[in-house]
Protein backbone atom coordinates (compact mmCIF):
# COMPACT_ATOMS: atom_id res chain seq x y z
CA UNK A 1 0.00 0.00 0.00
CA UNK A 2 2.94 2.24 0.49
CA UNK A 3 3.55 2.60 -3.26
CA UNK A 4 0.57 4.93 -3.50
CA UNK A 5 1.29 7.13 -0.55
CA UNK A 6 2.21 10.67 -1.70
CA UNK A 7 3.95 11.26 1.57
CA UNK A 8 6.81 9.04 0.49
CA UNK A 9 10.11 10.95 0.82
CA UNK A 10 11.23 12.40 -2.48
CA UNK A 11 14.74 11.71 -3.77
CA UNK A 12 15.23 15.44 -4.34
CA UNK A 13 14.15 18.53 -2.52
CA UNK A 14 12.16 21.20 -4.30
CA UNK A 15 14.55 23.91 -3.16
CA UNK A 16 17.46 21.96 -4.54
CA UNK A 17 15.74 21.44 -7.86
CA UNK A 18 14.88 25.13 -8.13
CA UNK A 19 18.39 26.20 -7.15
CA UNK A 20 19.92 23.77 -9.63
CA UNK A 21 17.57 25.06 -12.31
CA UNK A 22 18.62 28.64 -11.64
CA UNK A 23 22.28 27.67 -11.71
CA UNK A 24 21.79 25.74 -14.91
CA UNK A 25 19.90 28.64 -16.50
CA UNK A 26 22.62 31.09 -15.45
CA UNK A 27 25.32 28.81 -16.83
CA UNK A 28 23.47 28.38 -20.11
CA UNK A 29 22.91 32.15 -20.34
CA UNK A 30 26.58 32.81 -19.67
CA UNK A 31 27.56 30.21 -22.25
CA UNK A 32 25.27 31.77 -24.84
CA UNK A 33 26.64 35.25 -24.14
CA UNK A 34 30.18 33.93 -24.49
CA UNK A 35 29.32 32.07 -27.67
CA UNK A 36 27.64 35.10 -29.21
CA UNK A 37 30.86 37.11 -29.09
CA UNK A 38 33.89 36.54 -31.29
CA UNK A 39 37.15 35.53 -29.68
CA UNK A 40 39.03 38.47 -28.19
CA UNK A 41 36.30 40.95 -29.04
CA UNK A 42 37.15 43.25 -26.14
CA UNK A 43 40.80 43.48 -27.13
CA UNK A 44 39.89 44.10 -30.76
CA UNK A 45 37.40 46.81 -29.87
CA UNK A 46 39.99 48.40 -27.58
CA UNK A 47 42.55 48.33 -30.39
CA UNK A 48 40.07 49.80 -32.87
CA UNK A 49 39.20 52.55 -30.42
CA UNK A 50 42.90 53.40 -30.01
CA UNK A 51 43.42 53.52 -33.78
CA UNK A 52 40.34 55.65 -34.38
CA UNK A 53 41.57 58.09 -31.74
CA UNK A 54 44.86 58.33 -33.60
CA UNK A 55 43.02 58.95 -36.87
CA UNK A 56 41.02 61.70 -35.20
CA UNK A 57 44.23 63.27 -33.97
CA UNK A 58 45.81 63.06 -37.41
CA UNK A 59 42.77 64.64 -39.01
CA UNK A 60 43.09 67.74 -36.86
CA UNK A 61 46.37 68.60 -38.63
CA UNK A 62 44.71 70.03 -41.73
CA UNK A 63 47.07 71.87 -44.07
CA UNK A 64 46.81 75.66 -44.15
CA UNK A 65 47.53 75.62 -47.84
CA UNK A 66 47.46 72.84 -50.37
CA UNK A 67 50.60 72.53 -52.46
CA UNK A 68 50.42 70.81 -55.83
CA UNK A 69 51.72 67.30 -56.11
CA UNK A 70 55.35 67.17 -57.14
CA UNK A 71 56.49 70.11 -55.05
CA UNK A 72 58.32 67.58 -52.92
CA UNK A 73 60.14 64.75 -54.64
CA UNK A 74 59.04 61.21 -53.98
CA UNK A 75 62.47 59.67 -54.49
CA UNK A 76 65.07 59.09 -51.86
CA UNK A 77 67.46 62.07 -51.53
CA UNK A 78 70.38 60.09 -52.97
CA UNK A 79 68.46 59.00 -56.06
CA UNK A 80 67.01 62.48 -56.45
CA UNK A 81 70.51 64.00 -56.32
CA UNK A 82 71.60 61.84 -59.25
CA UNK A 83 68.46 62.64 -61.20
CA UNK A 84 68.74 66.36 -60.49
CA UNK A 85 72.33 66.53 -61.64
CA UNK A 86 71.55 64.90 -64.97
CA UNK A 87 68.44 67.09 -65.39
CA UNK A 88 70.46 70.26 -64.76
CA UNK A 89 72.97 69.18 -67.38
CA UNK A 90 70.12 68.56 -69.81
CA UNK A 91 68.45 71.92 -69.05
CA UNK A 92 71.72 73.77 -69.50
CA UNK A 93 72.16 72.05 -72.82
CA UNK A 94 68.61 72.96 -73.87
CA UNK A 95 69.29 76.58 -72.88
CA UNK A 96 72.39 76.51 -75.09
CA UNK A 97 74.49 77.39 -72.09
CA UNK A 98 77.95 75.87 -71.86
CA UNK A 99 78.22 74.16 -68.52
CA UNK A 100 81.11 75.06 -66.27
CA UNK A 101 80.22 72.95 -63.30
CA UNK A 102 77.20 71.19 -61.82
CA UNK A 103 76.81 69.25 -58.58
CA UNK A 104 73.95 67.87 -56.49
CA UNK A 105 74.15 66.09 -53.19
CA UNK A 106 71.76 65.36 -50.34
CA UNK A 107 72.10 67.23 -47.07
CA UNK A 108 71.61 65.54 -43.74
CA UNK A 109 68.12 66.34 -42.47
CA UNK A 110 67.60 67.41 -38.90
CA UNK A 111 66.07 64.91 -36.53
CA UNK A 112 62.59 66.42 -36.56
CA UNK A 113 62.63 67.28 -40.25
CA UNK A 114 59.95 65.86 -42.51
CA UNK A 115 61.80 67.12 -45.57
CA UNK A 116 65.30 66.18 -46.67
CA UNK A 117 66.96 68.79 -48.90
CA UNK A 118 69.15 68.02 -51.89
CA UNK A 119 71.48 70.91 -52.53
CA UNK A 120 72.70 71.75 -55.98
CA UNK A 121 75.11 74.14 -57.60
CA UNK A 122 75.25 75.13 -61.26
CA UNK A 123 77.54 77.40 -63.19
CA UNK A 124 77.20 78.26 -66.83
CA UNK A 125 78.70 80.78 -69.20
CA UNK A 126 76.10 82.19 -71.52
CA UNK A 127 74.31 85.31 -72.59
CA UNK A 128 71.79 87.11 -70.40
CA UNK A 129 69.01 85.57 -72.50
CA UNK A 130 70.40 82.12 -71.74
CA UNK A 131 70.20 82.90 -68.03
CA UNK A 132 66.58 83.91 -68.33
CA UNK A 133 65.82 80.84 -70.43
CA UNK A 134 67.37 78.53 -67.86
CA UNK A 135 65.45 80.20 -65.04
CA UNK A 136 62.20 79.78 -66.98
CA UNK A 137 62.89 76.08 -67.47
CA UNK A 138 63.73 75.68 -63.80
CA UNK A 139 60.53 77.43 -62.75
CA UNK A 140 58.47 74.58 -64.26
CA UNK A 141 60.72 71.83 -62.97
CA UNK A 142 59.40 69.24 -60.54
CA UNK A 143 60.15 68.91 -57.74
CA UNK A 144 60.10 72.60 -56.98
CA UNK A 145 63.48 74.30 -57.10
CA UNK A 146 64.32 76.72 -54.30
CA UNK A 147 66.92 79.29 -55.24
CA UNK A 148 69.24 80.26 -52.42
CA UNK A 149 71.57 82.42 -54.42
CA UNK A 150 71.97 83.61 -58.00
CA UNK A 151 75.06 85.46 -59.22
CA UNK A 152 75.23 87.01 -62.65
CA UNK A 153 78.63 88.42 -63.48
CA UNK A 154 79.29 90.21 -66.68
CA UNK A 155 82.36 89.00 -68.56
CA UNK A 156 83.78 89.95 -71.85
CA UNK A 157 81.11 88.96 -74.38
CA UNK A 158 79.15 86.70 -72.06
CA UNK A 159 77.85 86.42 -68.49
CA UNK A 160 78.79 83.91 -65.88
CA UNK A 161 75.71 82.60 -64.07
CA UNK A 162 76.16 80.76 -60.79
CA UNK A 163 73.08 79.31 -59.17
CA UNK A 164 72.83 77.49 -55.84
CA UNK A 165 69.62 76.09 -54.44
CA UNK A 166 67.74 73.07 -53.13
CA UNK A 167 65.02 70.65 -53.93
CA UNK A 168 63.14 68.92 -51.11
CA UNK A 169 62.51 65.23 -50.67
CA UNK A 170 60.59 63.29 -48.07
CA UNK A 171 62.78 62.40 -45.17
Amino acid sequence: MSETAPSRPRPWSTTGVVAASFLLAAAVLWLLVMLSQPVGVDARVFDLDRRVRRIETLRTAAPLRAYPRGVVCMETPIREAGRLKSDLERLAHQAAAPLVQVSAEPLLPTLDAHLAPVQFSLEINTGYAGVLDLLRRLSTYTPAVLVDRADIVSKAGFVSFHLTGRVLCRA
Partner: protein
Protein backbone atom coordinates in the same frame (compact mmCIF):
# COMPACT_ATOMS: atom_id res chain seq x y z
CA UNK B 1 -4.96 25.07 10.50
CA UNK B 2 -8.22 23.58 11.56
CA UNK B 3 -8.63 19.91 10.90
CA UNK B 4 -12.31 19.96 9.99
CA UNK B 5 -12.98 16.85 8.12
CA UNK B 6 -16.13 16.30 6.19
CA UNK B 7 -17.44 13.43 4.18
CA UNK B 8 -17.82 14.66 0.68
CA UNK B 9 -20.27 12.17 -0.60
CA UNK B 10 -21.49 8.69 -0.31
CA UNK B 11 -19.25 5.75 -1.12
CA UNK B 12 -17.70 6.31 -4.45
CA UNK B 13 -17.91 3.79 -7.15
CA UNK B 14 -14.98 4.02 -9.48
CA UNK B 15 -15.11 2.27 -12.76
CA UNK B 16 -11.97 0.44 -13.67
CA UNK B 17 -11.77 -0.52 -17.23
CA UNK B 18 -8.29 -1.95 -17.26
CA UNK B 19 -8.80 -4.23 -14.22
CA UNK B 20 -11.27 -7.04 -13.89
CA UNK B 21 -14.04 -6.43 -11.36
CA UNK B 22 -13.22 -7.57 -7.83
CA UNK B 23 -15.77 -9.26 -5.69
CA UNK B 24 -16.67 -8.08 -2.15
CA UNK B 25 -14.94 -4.73 -2.31
CA UNK B 26 -15.97 -2.41 0.51
CA UNK B 27 -17.00 1.04 -0.61
CA UNK B 28 -14.38 3.79 -0.50
CA UNK B 29 -15.08 7.03 1.36
CA UNK B 30 -13.85 10.41 0.41
CA UNK B 31 -12.96 13.32 2.72
CA UNK B 32 -11.87 16.84 2.16
CA UNK B 33 -10.26 19.30 4.46
CA UNK B 34 -9.20 22.92 4.19
CA UNK B 35 -5.65 23.74 5.23
CA UNK B 36 -4.19 27.17 5.72
CA UNK B 37 -0.45 27.64 5.85
CA UNK B 38 1.68 30.58 6.84
CA UNK B 39 3.00 33.01 4.24
CA UNK B 40 6.00 31.44 2.55
CA UNK B 41 7.38 30.53 -0.79
CA UNK B 42 4.91 28.46 -2.84
CA UNK B 43 6.76 25.15 -2.65
CA UNK B 44 7.36 25.65 1.04
CA UNK B 45 3.64 26.25 1.60
CA UNK B 46 2.87 23.05 -0.29
CA UNK B 47 5.32 21.11 1.86
CA UNK B 48 3.68 22.51 4.98
CA UNK B 49 0.20 21.71 3.68
CA UNK B 50 1.20 18.13 2.90
CA UNK B 51 2.68 17.72 6.32
CA UNK B 52 -0.48 19.11 7.84
CA UNK B 53 -2.59 16.82 5.70
CA UNK B 54 -0.60 13.82 6.84
CA UNK B 55 -0.75 14.94 10.45
CA UNK B 56 -4.51 15.48 10.33
CA UNK B 57 -5.33 12.36 8.37
CA UNK B 58 -8.73 10.91 9.27
CA UNK B 59 -7.35 7.36 9.33
CA UNK B 60 -4.01 5.59 9.40
CA UNK B 61 -2.05 6.57 6.34
CA UNK B 62 -1.74 2.99 5.09
CA UNK B 63 -5.50 3.05 4.60
CA UNK B 64 -5.55 6.40 2.88
CA UNK B 65 -4.52 8.08 -0.24
CA UNK B 66 -4.63 11.85 -0.34
CA UNK B 67 -3.72 14.84 -2.40
CA UNK B 68 -3.28 18.48 -1.56
CA UNK B 69 -4.60 21.10 -3.95
CA UNK B 70 -4.05 24.84 -3.78
CA UNK B 71 -7.34 26.67 -3.81
CA UNK B 72 -6.10 30.27 -3.94
CA UNK B 73 -3.31 31.49 -6.13
CA UNK B 74 -0.07 32.14 -4.33
CA UNK B 75 0.60 35.72 -3.29
CA UNK B 76 3.60 37.06 -1.51
CA UNK B 77 3.19 37.70 2.20
CA UNK B 78 -0.22 36.00 2.18
CA UNK B 79 -1.20 32.69 3.79
CA UNK B 80 -1.71 29.76 1.47
CA UNK B 81 -5.02 28.00 1.21
CA UNK B 82 -5.09 24.32 0.30
CA UNK B 83 -7.62 21.56 0.18
CA UNK B 84 -6.57 18.11 1.25
CA UNK B 85 -8.58 15.32 -0.26
CA UNK B 86 -8.48 11.87 1.26
CA UNK B 87 -9.81 8.60 0.02
CA UNK B 88 -10.21 5.90 2.55
CA UNK B 89 -9.37 2.65 0.79
CA UNK B 90 -9.03 -0.26 3.10
CA UNK B 91 -10.04 -2.98 0.75
CA UNK B 92 -6.73 -4.43 -0.33
CA UNK B 93 -4.74 -4.05 -3.48
CA UNK B 94 -7.70 -3.74 -5.80
CA UNK B 95 -9.23 -1.09 -3.62
CA UNK B 96 -5.93 0.71 -3.58
CA UNK B 97 -5.87 0.73 -7.32
CA UNK B 98 -9.33 2.19 -7.30
CA UNK B 99 -8.32 4.85 -4.86
CA UNK B 100 -5.19 5.82 -6.69
CA UNK B 101 -7.04 5.91 -9.96
CA UNK B 102 -9.62 8.06 -8.38
CA UNK B 103 -7.02 10.51 -7.17
CA UNK B 104 -4.92 10.30 -10.27
CA UNK B 105 -1.98 8.99 -8.28
CA UNK B 106 -1.49 5.61 -9.84
CA UNK B 107 2.15 4.82 -9.17
CA UNK B 108 2.47 2.85 -12.35
CA UNK B 109 1.48 5.91 -14.37
CA UNK B 110 3.40 8.49 -12.43
CA UNK B 111 6.10 10.35 -14.33
CA UNK B 112 8.91 12.55 -13.08
CA UNK B 113 7.74 15.83 -11.53
CA UNK B 114 4.17 14.53 -11.72
CA UNK B 115 3.90 15.50 -15.38
CA UNK B 116 1.91 13.56 -17.89
CA UNK B 117 3.70 11.87 -20.74
CA UNK B 118 2.72 14.43 -23.41
CA UNK B 119 3.78 17.22 -21.08
CA UNK B 120 7.06 15.45 -20.48
CA UNK B 121 7.56 15.07 -24.22
CA UNK B 122 6.82 18.75 -24.70
CA UNK B 123 9.21 19.70 -21.94
CA UNK B 124 11.87 17.44 -23.42
CA UNK B 125 11.38 18.92 -26.85
CA UNK B 126 11.55 22.39 -25.38
CA UNK B 127 14.73 21.47 -23.53
CA UNK B 128 16.29 20.38 -26.81
CA UNK B 129 14.82 22.83 -29.28
CA UNK B 130 15.09 26.03 -27.27
CA UNK B 131 18.79 25.65 -26.39
CA UNK B 132 19.51 24.59 -29.96
CA UNK B 133 17.72 27.66 -31.29
CA UNK B 134 19.46 29.88 -28.77
CA UNK B 135 22.79 28.31 -29.65
CA UNK B 136 22.16 28.82 -33.34
CA UNK B 137 21.20 32.44 -32.75
CA UNK B 138 24.25 33.01 -30.57
CA UNK B 139 26.51 31.52 -33.20
CA UNK B 140 24.89 33.60 -35.91
CA UNK B 141 25.35 36.72 -33.80
CA UNK B 142 28.96 35.77 -33.25
CA UNK B 143 29.50 35.46 -36.99
CA UNK B 144 27.79 38.80 -37.60
CA UNK B 145 29.91 40.50 -34.98
CA UNK B 146 33.09 38.98 -36.35
CA UNK B 147 32.17 40.14 -39.83
CA UNK B 148 31.30 43.63 -38.61
CA UNK B 149 34.57 43.82 -36.68
CA UNK B 150 36.50 42.71 -39.74
CA UNK B 151 34.79 45.34 -41.90
CA UNK B 152 35.47 47.99 -39.30
CA UNK B 153 39.07 46.88 -39.07
CA UNK B 154 39.50 47.26 -42.81
CA UNK B 155 37.88 50.68 -42.79
CA UNK B 156 40.06 51.82 -39.91
CA UNK B 157 43.12 50.55 -41.78
CA UNK B 158 42.19 52.45 -44.95
CA UNK B 159 41.20 55.61 -43.09
CA UNK B 160 44.34 55.36 -41.00
CA UNK B 161 46.53 55.27 -44.10
CA UNK B 162 44.57 58.14 -45.61
CA UNK B 163 44.80 60.19 -42.43
CA UNK B 164 48.51 59.44 -42.12
CA UNK B 165 49.12 60.58 -45.69
CA UNK B 166 47.00 63.71 -45.13
CA UNK B 167 48.87 64.50 -41.94
CA UNK B 168 52.17 64.06 -43.74
CA UNK B 169 51.00 66.40 -46.48
CA UNK B 170 49.86 68.89 -43.85
CA UNK B 171 53.23 68.73 -42.14
CA UNK B 172 54.99 69.14 -45.47
CA UNK B 173 52.78 72.12 -46.31
CA UNK B 174 53.57 73.65 -42.94
CA UNK B 175 57.31 73.23 -43.58
CA UNK B 176 56.97 74.61 -47.10
CA UNK B 177 55.08 77.59 -45.68
CA UNK B 178 57.93 78.15 -43.27
CA UNK B 179 60.44 77.99 -46.13
CA UNK B 180 58.45 80.47 -48.28
CA UNK B 181 59.00 78.35 -51.34
CA UNK B 182 57.19 80.82 -53.59
CA UNK B 183 59.61 83.61 -52.74
CA UNK B 184 62.58 81.36 -53.47
CA UNK B 185 61.35 80.05 -56.78
CA UNK B 186 63.20 80.65 -60.07
CA UNK B 187 60.07 82.49 -61.18
CA UNK B 188 60.55 85.00 -58.39
CA UNK B 189 64.20 85.46 -59.42
CA UNK B 190 62.95 86.14 -62.95
CA UNK B 191 60.48 88.74 -61.67
CA UNK B 192 63.17 90.46 -59.63
CA UNK B 193 65.53 90.50 -62.62
CA UNK B 194 62.75 91.92 -64.76
CA UNK B 195 62.10 94.60 -62.18
CA UNK B 196 65.80 95.49 -62.09
CA UNK B 197 65.94 95.69 -65.89
CA UNK B 198 62.88 97.89 -65.93
CA UNK B 199 64.17 100.34 -63.32
CA UNK B 200 67.83 100.41 -64.27
CA UNK B 201 68.95 103.80 -65.39
CA UNK B 202 69.91 103.61 -69.05
CA UNK B 203 73.25 105.25 -68.56
CA UNK B 204 74.37 102.68 -65.98
CA UNK B 205 76.07 99.38 -66.70
CA UNK B 206 75.77 96.61 -64.13
CA UNK B 207 78.91 94.54 -63.91
CA UNK B 208 77.30 91.98 -61.65
CA UNK B 209 73.99 91.13 -59.97
CA UNK B 210 73.94 89.00 -56.84
CA UNK B 211 70.49 87.78 -55.74
CA UNK B 212 69.84 86.08 -52.43
CA UNK B 213 66.44 85.66 -50.82
CA UNK B 214 64.82 88.80 -52.15
CA UNK B 215 67.81 91.08 -51.78
CA UNK B 216 69.92 92.11 -54.75
CA UNK B 217 73.42 93.46 -54.62
CA UNK B 218 74.44 95.37 -57.73
CA UNK B 219 78.03 96.04 -58.75
CA UNK B 220 78.11 99.39 -60.53
CA UNK B 221 80.95 101.53 -61.72
CA UNK B 222 79.36 104.63 -60.24
CA UNK B 223 78.47 106.05 -56.88
CA UNK B 224 75.20 107.33 -58.28
CA UNK B 225 72.13 105.18 -57.75
CA UNK B 226 71.77 102.77 -60.67
CA UNK B 227 67.98 102.56 -60.24
CA UNK B 228 65.37 105.21 -60.76
CA UNK B 229 62.71 103.59 -58.60
CA UNK B 230 61.72 105.25 -55.40
CA UNK B 231 59.37 102.52 -54.13
CA UNK B 232 62.17 100.22 -52.91
CA UNK B 233 64.93 101.04 -50.49
CA UNK B 234 68.33 101.33 -52.16
CA UNK B 235 71.53 101.69 -50.26
CA UNK B 236 75.14 102.06 -51.28
CA UNK B 237 77.98 100.37 -49.43
CA UNK B 238 80.09 102.91 -47.51
CA UNK B 239 83.24 101.92 -49.32
CA UNK B 240 83.86 100.87 -52.92
CA UNK B 241 83.99 97.13 -53.51
CA UNK B 242 86.96 97.56 -55.75
CA UNK B 243 88.53 100.66 -57.12
CA UNK B 244 85.87 102.34 -59.21
CA UNK B 245 83.21 99.70 -58.43
CA UNK B 246 80.41 100.42 -55.99
CA UNK B 247 78.05 97.93 -54.39
CA UNK B 248 74.40 98.89 -54.20
CA UNK B 249 71.89 96.91 -52.23
CA UNK B 250 68.17 96.87 -52.93
CA UNK B 251 65.46 95.04 -51.04
CA UNK B 252 63.24 93.66 -53.74
CA UNK B 253 60.59 92.64 -51.23
CA UNK B 254 59.57 94.70 -48.18
CA UNK B 255 62.44 94.24 -45.79
CA UNK B 256 63.93 91.60 -48.03
CA UNK B 257 63.31 87.88 -47.65
CA UNK B 258 65.94 87.21 -45.12
CA UNK B 259 64.74 83.81 -43.95
Amino acid sequence: MSPKLRVVDAPVEVALTEQPPVEHVPPARRFTRTIQTAAALPWRQRQMAELEARLGAPAPMEQLVFQVRRTDPWRPRAPGLFEAEYLHASGGAAQNRRATSFLGLDASRRTPFGLSLPALVLVGLALVVLPAAALNQAWSRRQDQAEALSDLDTRVLVEGRRATAAARRAEEARRLDQLHVDELSPGQVLKDLDWLSLHKRPDVTLSAVHWARGIAALEVASDVSPLDAADKPIQCAPHPLRPGVWLWGVALSPGGRTR
